[in-house]
Symmetry: C2
Subunit: 434 residues, 2 copies
């Protein structure tokens, strides 16, 4: 694609920045996209920059000078600017910050200290502090101050001595209460809060569980330092769900359907190699019984059935456990209960499928003993699937590894090896007795 | 577990309703849980009822009389009451509504008309309408009206003639503007809105994409009928992600780790039977080549490797596509691009794994031709996995079926059948030539 025409830019600039970012991400050459960005009004270009995927931002930012970047950042809320600066190489971060006026650079430096996935890394610093020792009238006068009016003032937090958070006051109460009443009379002190180092997964869980619209963020001294809103939590929840689903099968949480294939392969292929090793482990179990198969070839026909059923049942268990862990619905004491449930299901499913497979095996191949072997192996495989589906994510979690990480690969290792072993061992035993 | 003691109830009532609901859900006999609920202050019991999982609610509600239910519903926001009444059997719905005072029953009847998964089914009716033809002073006076003050007034929407939504006004502007200015001067008319029948998945996407904190809901006549907040969208997003993950492997979206096994089996076992049928289809491909395997038993050893690699690679593709569809990042024109990417990945992964498998096969079993066959079959299987991973969810979507539904089962059908066929056909061909 060649450069974008003035006409095309005129069309683009009518879009919402989120949609504009989507369009720019579809342009194949970053150079053309950045040129388009540069020819837009600065505030729109800035808002669009803030909406880009981190991967795309990394491609675009080297094409902008420090002055250009700083110029754009001045139009953005500090939390958005922090996300953008945070994606730059470290040496460029300093250079861009140095280009910014001190009243922008200084809050950015503060926000940049916090880990990206913590409350500090997510929070906005746009809120208004009211003095808890004044009156309603003082508060209203403060809100009339033009300097305050430049900021977003959706949330009115009340602090006392050295910024310690004491509560929240609603605009409604400010409007409806007499000017002379002291602010502390209408301050709601019973408010939940986040700590600046709280993990983002935990934050999303809190918002979902308690239905908050916004939560103030405090530091170790209980000083108010920011606000996290429900829409931030929504974005986190989507990211976490994507990561869990994709990590399970060995795909990066950042990959999207249109991520270039040469980038996607870097995460996918290594996990396919891990899967290959585990598949060879399962193959070796089969190899152990090659002699049995040579005598009774029909066994080979049933191998995919054993593996397929074990894998699918195991994935059912695994998915439910991983999702429950992510939603925070499975507390530490619940592991045993969940295991017991899955074992019951494994036995019930195993009997239901085992009998079906056994009968089909008998009818298809006319061998009662084959039906018995494949049916029994199926029950044992379903039980293996239940155990592996519960134990793999719980073990990963205990090891402080993401419970989703490549868990489907580990799971099928267990179900394949277990299933093949039970099936071929039983068959060998039957052959020896025959 | 026997009934709950007064002491235990005293402990429970100190919890947040969301945590209290969690605790009640863990009590094995619904009778004990409902007794505990009845011995709590009515407002707390009501708030707890609103936090219960729908499944649990269905167990608890038959143990409460119509009068008791109506008594609790009076303490709740209408949107929560609607969710509870909506879970009752139809004949009980009317009985409970008849027990309620008309000013509660009437809005509930209105809300109950909308599908559960639509904006109408999710929205709250707690917002305040201001007359767009009055002044700031009129608006402030209206907010002082004690009847209005009983309601939550977080959002101030401005309407004109017969409730047509014209915009939103901020408390901030009300506070900071002179009483005599007309309200229309401070009304922001450039606001996004939802239609009452908009689907919940679409709503979550809009909130995520555009970072709204709340959106007004209008009916066909552009009359304001409700508000959806970002925290509602968060809950929807979590439900949708859970449903997608669990549907993929044939588990109900409602199942949780501690759902009783006899309930879980109703959804899981049928899909395992479907998987069994597809596994038999794959087994029949193997059966077609039983003669080849009888002559060359080592082929059986490689079957699990072919199936395992095809299944894993296919799941990688499938998961990325399903997640992108859910996040609304894959528009209708993007299918071909995504397919092209996955084909490139399939060829690259296929070559990388095929060569590895071929070399290992050669070294392990000392047969060059075996290495060649298994390597070639692997490339073709990876390509099948790529095609199936993209086409299955897109086809389901075209058929207006949830793209996630049992997709992993359909996927492994293709990869198993394709993989076994390529591998065993090549082997048969090689044997005939040998």
């Amino acid at each position: 694609m060649s450069d974008i025409s003035t006409e095309q830019i005129a069309v683009l600039t009518r879009l919402h920045p989120a949609d504009l970012a989507d369009q720019l991400q579809r342009i194949e050459e970053p150079e053309s996209a950045v040129l388009a960005l540069k020819s837009m009004p600065e505030d729109l270009a800035a808002a669009t920059l803030a909406e880009l995927d981190p991967e795309v931002l990394k491609e675009f930012s080297p094409l902008l000078s420090e002055e250009e970047l700083a110029g754009l950042l001045e139009h953005l809320p500090h939390s958005d600017s922090t996300d953008i600066v945070g994606e730059l190489p470290e040496e460029r971060q300093q250079e861009v910050l140095d280009e910014l006026p001190v009243d922008v650079a200084s809050p950015l430096r503060t926000l940049l200290q916090y880990p990206e996935d913590s409350a500090g890394g997510i929070m906005s610093d746009q809120y208004t502090i009211l003095d808890g020792e004044g009156t309603i009238g003082d508060a209203l006068d403060r809100l009339r101050d033009p300097q305050i009016q430049d900021q977003s003032i959706s949330y009115l937090y009340v602090t006392e001595k050295s910024d310690r958070l004491v509560g929240v006051v609603s605009f409604r109460d400010l409007v409806l209460t007499n000017r002379h009443v002291s602010l502390s009379k209408v301050t709601n002190r019973d408010i939940a809060r986040l700590h600046v180092l709280d993990d983002q997964e935990e934050i999303a869980r809190k918002f979902e569980h308690y239905h908050y619209l916004a939560l103030p963020v405090v530091d170790a001294e209980e000083q108010l330092v920011g606000v996290v809103e429900a829409n931030d939590a929504l974005i986190i929840a989507q990211e976490e769900a994507t990561e869990d689903m994709q990590l399970m099968v060995g795909v990066s949480g950042e990959e999207r359907a249109l991520t270039p294939w040469h980038k996607a392969i870097a995460k996918r292929l290594p996990w396919l190699y891990v899967n290959l090793m585990t598949a060879f482990a399962a193959a070796m179990v089969v190899a152990l019984y090659e002699e049995t198969i040579a005598k009774w070839t029909v066994l080979a026909v049933f191998l995919p059935i054993i593996a397929g059923q074990g894998g699918n049942a195991g994935m059912q268990t695994l998915t439910v456990i991983i999702r429950d862990l992510a939603l925070g619905e499975l507390s530490s004491g619940d592991g045993k209960k969940a295991l017991f449930k899955e074992i019951c299901l494994g036995v019930a499913n195993g009997l239901a499928i085992g009998i079906a497979v056994g009968v089909i095996g008998f009818l298809w191949k006319g061998s009662m003993i084959l039906g018995l072997i494949v049916g029994t192996a199926m029950v044992l495989t379903q039980l293996t699937a239940a155990l592996a589906g519960v134990m793999i994510p719980l073990t990963l979690k205990t090891l402080k590894i993401d419970p989703a990480l490549a868990s489907s690969i580990f799971l099928t290792t267990f179900t394949d090896i277990g299933g093949f072993f039970f099936f071929l061992w039983l068959a060998t035993y039957a052959l020896e007795r025959a």
